[in-house]
Structures are given as structure tokens and as C-alpha cells.
């Protein structure tokens, strides 16, 4: 009973400060953050392209880079949350296209206000998310298999139904339809700050990152997301609604796919039905570069944003450096490997130093 008898000194009083606990240095605290690897990587890529491409540092280039980053960043945020929750989604790339197609075709075929199509698209896309999530928690099959199935089905549906309804591989233009301008303002406009052009997607992206970070770190749901990915059985045993959390995460992915899809539609006025295949990996890569653990339970939304930014810089930096754009994929692969290794190394050091 020695350990017990010495324990309670003054019951009810707050625990005294632990004298062994030195205030950790700023560096030490930074080392513990999941985003650290990505930030170091982003700085390296930035310096690299600043030296390699003269035009990279111009304000106009920066806004182009930000735009490219935001397109992927919008999807990287929910994909990162889903990965922290321990699951994958391979259907994200084509889901964006599906969402745009549904919106466009519904408006055109029903000759309705485009906002009606936008609303229908939101419901339909959320339904796809629910489908993924419910199937996952009901069958307990790996999410890799389930969403691979959804991916293939959506790819086929996109191509098949577009050809069936409009007779070609792309949808008809909805540019002259009622509500197009206001919808375009919300999803695909841009505003100028001095000589810098800011696309509205950058604002969507920033808002999503902020909301996701808030949810993850400061709400009960955030706690449940970490627990669902880091130890689903333990979480279930203490009463965490793991299944609901996972379905919710898939719905979050669907919601963001809807935003990205509407941008795709309203930045032009037609949608190519074959688009989006392969993008799902880019979202996952952004999340992984940003410090998400493949096995779940660890990561951050801000990290995914940094990952998407690295992605945007590389994508456009290669153009500014006037290299063959074919090299982009090679860069991306190398970046993924480096970032993952760096993350693993940083995490090991951070945990060892505790």
C-alpha cells in the first residue's frame, strides 16, 4: 500500500506543478507536431523552385500556385480526416466529377434553375458518401476494397450515363441558364487584391482547413476520429460511436467532393465525364506528405494543406522552370517517399525524446 498511502495529500486541491516537467523548448514542441516534416519539405521545395525558376517568386505565379494547391487542398482536408479515422477512399477523384455531372445534367434536363441542380448534386453526393460509409461499417470489409468498387462503379456511371443522356462524352453548356452567374460567383469566381488574383477556391480551402482543425483538436468528434483510427475496439469499449464517426467522415469527403465538383462545373460550363480518375491518389499523397499515418490515428488537417501546397508548387514550378511537365509525376513520387521517410524519422525522434 505504499504507493497509495503517499498519494492523496490534500483531496480536492489542484494537482501541484510537476517539478520534473521543464517547459519544453519551442523546437521540442515543434518536433512533436505531425506537420513538421511537411513544413520542412515545403520550405525545401519553395527554395528549390525559387532558384530554378526566375518567374516563380512573382505575385502572379504565387496566385497560380495557390489556385492549383487549393483545387487539391479542398479534397486533401477530408481525405486526411478520413485517414486519421483509419480509412481510405479511392472513389474521391471520380466522385468530384460525378458531383459536377449530376449538377449539370439535372439542371439541363429539367431546365431548372442551376441552384436546383447544385442542391440535388449535394444530396446525391452525400448519398454516395453514406453508401461508402454504411457499406464499410456493415460489411467490415477493408475500405480499400469497398471504395475501389465505388470508384469503378462511378467511373462507369459517369461515362455511361453522360453518353446515354447527352450523346457525347461531355455535358451540354449550362452557361445561359438561370442562376449560373450567382453559382459561379460562389464556386468559381476570383477577386483581386492589388495585382494578386485570389481564386475563391483558396478561400474555400482555407475555411475547410480551419473548420477541420477545430473539429479535430477541440471537439468531441475530433477525439472520436483519432480514437476510431488509433484503436477502434478500445474506442468502442468506452462508448465511442465508431461506426457513426466513420460514416460521418465519408460524408465529409462527399461534401468536399461536392464543393470541388461545383467548382469544376462553374469554372467552365461543361464537364468532361472521364475526368478525375487518378486524382484520389493525389489527395491521399497530400495527406500522407502532411503527416497522416497510413494506419490511422495520427495526422492533421493543416498538414494536408501543406501537402497540397507542396503539390501545387511542384505542379506549377515545373512549368515556370520551363521543364517538360512529364517530370511532374516523377517529382511527386520522389516527394512522397522523401516526406514519408522524413515523417517517420521525425516521429521516432519526437517520441524518443519524451
Amino acid at each position: 500500500m505504499t504507493a497509495l498511502t503517499k498519494a492523496p495529500r490534500t483531496p480536492g486541491a489542484p494537482a501541484p506543478e510537476d517539478e520534473r516537467l521543464l517547459r519544453p523548448s519551442l523546437l521540442r514542441r515543434l518536433m512533436g507536431r505531425p506537420e513538421l516534416g511537411a513544413v520542412v519539405g515545403a520550405a525545401a521545395v519553395f527554395v528549390f523552385f525559387s532558384l530554378a525558376a526566375d518567374s516563380f517568386l512573382r505575385a502572379s505565379s504565387l496566385s497560380t500556385v495557390l489556385y492549383a494547391s487549393s483545387i487539391f487542398g479542398i479534397m486533401a482536408v477530408p481525405v486526411a480526416l478520413l485517414m486519421i479515422g483509419g480509412e481510405f477512399d479511392l472513389s474521391t477523384g471520380v466522385m468530384v466529377t460525378s458531383s459536377a455531372l449530376i449538377s449539370s445534367m439535372f439542371s439541363y434536363q429539367m431546365t431548372a434553375n442551376v441552384w436546383v441542380g447544385v442542391g440535388v448534386s449535394l444530396l446525391a453526393t452525400l448519398a454516395i458518401g453514406v453508401f461508402n460509409g454504411v457499406l464499410l461499417v456493415r460489411t467490415k470489409l477493408p475500405s480499400f476494397i469497398i471504395t475501389l468498387g465505388t470508384f469503378l462503379m462511378l467511373t462507369g456511371l459517369n461515362l455511361g450515363s453522360t453518353k446515354l443522356i447527352s450523346g457525347t462524352v461531355s455535358t451540354k453548356s449550362i452557361a445561359d441558364m438561370e442562376g449560373f452567374d450567382s453559382a459561379k460567383a460562389l464556386f468559381a469566381s476570383h477577386l483581386s487584391l492589388g495585382d494578386v488574383d485570389i481564386q475563391v477556391t483558396v478561400l474555400w480551402w482555407a475555411a475547410l482547413v480551419a473548420v477541420a482543425t477545430w473539429i479535430l483538436l477541440r471537439t468531441r468528434v475530433g477525439n472520436w476520429i483519432f480514437a476510431s483510427g488509433g484503436g477502434a475496439d478500445a474506442a468502442r469499449a468506452v462508448g465511442v460511436p465508431v461506426s457513426k464517426t466513420k460514416i460521418g467522415l465519408y460524408m465529409g469527403v462527399a461534401f468536399c467532393a461536392w464543393i470541388a465538383g461545383q467548382h469544376l462545373l462553374f469554372s467552365y460550363d461543361t464537364v468532361q465525364s472521364g475526368e478525375g480518375v487518378g486524382n484520389e491518389f493525389l489527395y491521399i499523397i497530400a495527406a500522407v506528405i502532411g503527416g497522416c499515418l497510413m494506419t490511422g490515428g495520427y495526422g492533421s488537417a493543416i498538414g494536408s494543406a501543406v501537402g497540397a501546397f507542396i503539390f501545387g508548387m511542384t505542379n506549377k514550378g515545373i512549368v515556370y522552370a520551363e521543364w517538360e511537365s512529364d517530370w511532374f509525376k516523377f517529382f511527386l513520387g520522389a516527394m512522397l517517399l522523401l516526406a514519408t521517410l522524413l515523417n517517420a524519422w521525425v516521429r521516432k525522434r519526437a517520441e524518443a525524446s519524451r
Binding site: 498511502t5 510537476d18 478500445a234
Partner: protein
């Protein structure tokens, strides 16, 4: 956002005078005399079938406040099936299961928790990558603010975690460290402390000492005893009769899914418990077989010791 809100932490104040109780209790005759309190949990004749396999048949046990009921059995004896029924993961197929005198059928672990039954599993008590304070409140996080601003009360969570762990003699440097960096015994203690803090009436412990060393086991058993002295009913599942006898008031022995014996501490000694647990007559048979196998004389004298000396 359901659940959790109704579970008011109430263990903390009970734990304060725990030590005094502990000392006075040691002088009492443990398990002696009839208690008037109703059992917190009472199983009678409970059976569970998986298809045509009898996982558990006719098991009866009771758990009273301030007592430890030990469930002993070898691997495959049905201990984990029993624990899953009590924890609400499985439902029994026959017999009755009463919680505080009221017959029930628990539908989920959440329902079991709401009825005051907290289960601590040996291997999945915590989420290793999450900080200690997040683990402590997992599933019952306190919040402040309303609507969209409803958020975790992180400061209170950190302070409470540190304070509660300190009460039980676990002095953590940093509650922000991932709980995976704690030792196995400490992790068990955090899980037990969590259950006590959230006002569990019945604590179900699944092999809490199985993966631990001697010293760590001692720490955990001390804490189990402290939970008992705080007035909780404890179900201790173990295959170690020595650990069980140290803290237990009642002993239920399981063998191949059936009850093999039920005793109070007054009725049975450690030697007899160990003998029954180890298989009793089976063990004697085994010692004969081994004696023969090692090339000893087949006409062994009565009692293994003299045979070895011969």
C-alpha cells in the same frame, strides 16, 4: 452527441477516504458473514451458444458492492464469453442476468456503461497514439460553450487527468504524452482510474495482470483493491490463482464453458484453489505420466516428492 452527459464523475470524492477504509478493512474478516446489500450483478444459470457450440453453460455468479468476485479458468474455459455478456458485447441465450435486482439484457457496451458497468480489457484498454488526457476522457469528454462553439474543456481535462492519476500514485511527467509510452501496468491503472472517476458501480477487469511483471502486477492489484474499498463491485478475470486469492472475496471456477466450483474466501484456501484451478486430479495424473516419461520407476511411491527422491 448522445450519452456521456449523464455520467457524472463521482468517484473522486469517494476515493479520498479510501486509504483509511483500506486499513480498517484489513482488520475485518474478509468475506465473512452475510451481507445485507443486494448484489450489483447477479447471473444465474447463464448460457451462451455460438451455433451448436456451447461457449458457456449454466454459469452463476454474483457481485456485491465492496467485494471482488474472481473468475478463474484456463484458456478456453469461457471467461471471455462471460465478460462479453456482462459488458454488453454479447447477449446470453439462457438463464437470467440481473443488474441491481432488475433482470436485463444489455444491448451494447454503451448501455452497460450507462448502467454503471465498466469493463477494462487487457489489450484494448486505451488508444496508444492518443495523449493520456484524451484517453482518460475518451467517450465522455466534458465540453463548454454552446452550439457551434461547443468545445472540449481541454484545461479541465488535463488537470483532472493529472490529479486523478496522482491520487492513485501514478505521477506523470506530462499528460500530453501518447499513452502508448506508459508501461503496461500504468496503462491498466489509467483505464481503471477512468472507470472509477466516471462513477462505475461494477468494474470488470479482463486479465489485468496477465501481461505484467511481478512488480507491475502488484501495482495493479493494489489499485483493484482500492477500487473495491471505494465501494465498487469488481469482477476480476484471471488464470492466476495467487493474484486472485490476494484480493478476491468470491471465486468462481470455469472449466470448458461450465461452472466447476464457487467458493467464498472463508471456504477455501490458496492451496485448494490452486489445485482446483490447475485441474486437481488431472494434475496428479499428469505428474504420474511425467514421472514415467522421465524414465523414473513406474511403481512410484505415493506422493510425488518421495518418488523424486527415490
Amino acid at each position: 452527441m448522445t450519452g456521456g452527459g449523464g455520467r457524472v464523475p463521482r468517484g473522486s470524492e469517494r476515493m479520498t477516504d479510501r486509504v483509511q477504509q483500506a486499513t480498517s478493512r484489513d482488520q475485518q474478516a474478509i468475506g465473512g458473514g452475510e451481507r445485507v446489500t443486494a448484489p450489483l450483478i447477479e447471473l444465474s444459470g447463464v448460457s451462451k451458444f455460438y451455433g451448436n457450440i456451447k461457449a458457456l453453460e449454466g454459469v452463476s455468479l454474483e457481485v456485491r458492492p465492496g467485494e471482488i468476485t474472481c473468475v478463474l479458468g484456463d484458456n478456453g474455459a469461457g471467461k471471455s464469453t462471460l465478460i462479453k455478456i456482462i459488458a454488453g458485447l454479447h447477449q446470453h441465450d439462457a438463464g437470467t442476468f440481473a443488474v441491481e435486482g432488475e433482470e436485463t439484457r444489455l444491448a451494447s457496451p454503451r448501455e452497460a456503461l450507462d448502467r454503471g458497468i465498466a469493463t477494462v480489457y487487457q489489450d484494448l484498454a486505451v488508444v496508444p497514439l492518443m495523449p493520456v488526457w484524451r484517453n482518460f476522457f475518451l467517450g465522455s469528454e466534458p465540453t463548454r460553450g454552446r452550439g457551434l462553439l461547443r468545445r472540449l474543456d481541454a484545461r479541465k481535462m488535463r488537470e483532472t487527468t493529472r490529479g486523478e492519476l496522482l491520487r492513485m500514485g501514478i505521477d506523470l511527467r506530462d499528460v500530453d504524452q501518447p499513452i502508448g509510452t506508459l508501461s503496461g501496468g500504468e496503462r491498466q491503472c489509467v483505464a481503471i482510474a477512468r472507470a472509477v472517476y466516471f462513477g462505475a458501480k461494477v468494474l470488470v477487469l479482463d486479465e489485468p495482470t496477465a501481461a505484467l511483471g511481478v512488480k507491475q502486477s502488484g501495482v495493479v492489484l493494489k489499485y483493484v483493491a482500492a477500487a473495491r474499498d471505494a465501494g465498487l463491485g469488481v469482477v476480476l478475470i484471471t488464470h492466476n490463482p495467487h493474484h486472485a486469492y490476494l484480493v478476491g472475496d468470491r471465486f468462481v471456477l470455469l472449466k470448458r464453458g461450465a461452472m466447476f466450483g464457487a467458493h467464498t474466501k472463508a471456504e477455501i484456501g490458496l492451496d485448494e484453489l490452486t489445485r482446483q484451478m490447475a485441474g486437481g486430479s488431472e494434475l496428479e495424473e499428469l505428474s504420474h505420466e511425467l514421472a514415467r516419461a522421465t524414465g523414473g520407476t513406474s511403481q512410484a511411491a505415493p506422493g510425488g516428492v518421495s518418488a523424486a527422491e527415490a
